[in-house]
Symmetry: C2
Subunit: 194 residues, 2 copies
């Protein structure tokens, strides 16, 4: 059976988002990334700016604080509300149409469907540093820090909400090193494995 | 550049060994698995039976005991001697010819070469249980136990000698779920990514 939905989890700087967007174009299917922020905002009642900052990323304060801080009398934090809204939006999108979804724990959120191809894209540090320096106009040293911070926050968010380990091979149907394989070949393999 | 050497790490029951053997046949290159035991035995001066039991697998006693037990006055355990002999044999094989090498931490041992494709094959529990029940003529319950024990021992050995996490996506060029993709497609993707 063709997998209607492709989720792409990725290390920062690995080109996973770019690869996902190219795959969606080539297959002529929808592509969801930052463009679902408004839907999550509407669903949660929170501002798009807040969603942009917090969905998929843990706060900078770390896992312990993440788990216990900012909870109201019902035990729900703002992050929990964002996550719940995000989850609902992703489940609806998957019901509606074939698509590529970038990040946002979509692999876990859609785990009960059998028409999903879960992909993890990672890369080697030298290539990731070059990419981030170029795209964000920062020094190599700043790029290293950005990569470490962003991946740590993605990992913390993922591990907290899914109970799984971010980047563990067996969570995904397919893991690809984009530095070693090249973006074109990653795209070809994803389309072949659909 | 074509990758001359393919290492296959695998979960027990995922068919990784079978897939590796098929890839070697199709490419017409050498295949190394249990057939290097005699070379490791010769190199280490230990018996082939002992190598078969200990290379790649930690003793059943667990990581703590593994790290500290059975060391002689130089601090070397029998397992260290096996590992050192195995490492030497694998480095020599990689120098000698194009090949597929199954398990034995070959991905880590060959990490300084740039002509190596590192693959991790994993699978879903129902398929792995079926495969192990059939191949080893054991009940499903026994298969579950065998899978858990074998993977735990492989993981302990790998983590101890490499300082990396067994099965972490970013250790490998390619990770494939053989239950979801099928063995034929895994073989095709490996050959395509070479």
């Amino acid at each position: 059976m063709v997998k209607r939905i492709i989720t792409i989890s990725r290390e920062f700087g690995s080109g996973g988002r770019f690869i996902g967007e190219e795959v969606a174009k080539k297959l002529g299917i929808a592509y969801y990334d930052k463009n679902i922020i408004n839907q999550i905002a509407e669903e949660s009642g929170l501002s798009p700016d807040y969603i942009q900052e917090s969905a998929e990323l843990s706060p900078k304060k770390g896992l312990f604080a993440y788990a216990f801080a900012g909870r109201d009398i019902t035990g729900k934090s703002l992050e929990d509300m964002v996550y719940e809204a995000q989850r609902k939006v992703i489940l609806e999108l998957a019901d509606k149409e074939s698509c590529v979804i970038i990040g946002r724990n979509a692999d876990f959120i859609l785990k009960d469907r059998d028409d999903v191809l879960n992909v993890f894209i990672h890369g080697d540090m030298p290539e990731k540093i070059q990419r981030i320096s170029r795209l964000y106009h920062v020094s190599e040293q700043e790029a290293v820090k950005l990569i470490a911070d962003t991946d740590k926050r993605r990992m913390t968010n993922y591990n907290f909400y899914t109970g799984q380990k971010w980047g563990k091979g067996s969570n995904y149907t397919l893991c690809l090193n984009s530095s070693q394989l090249g973006y074109d070949r990653c795209e070809a393999v994803i389309m072949e494995c659909r």
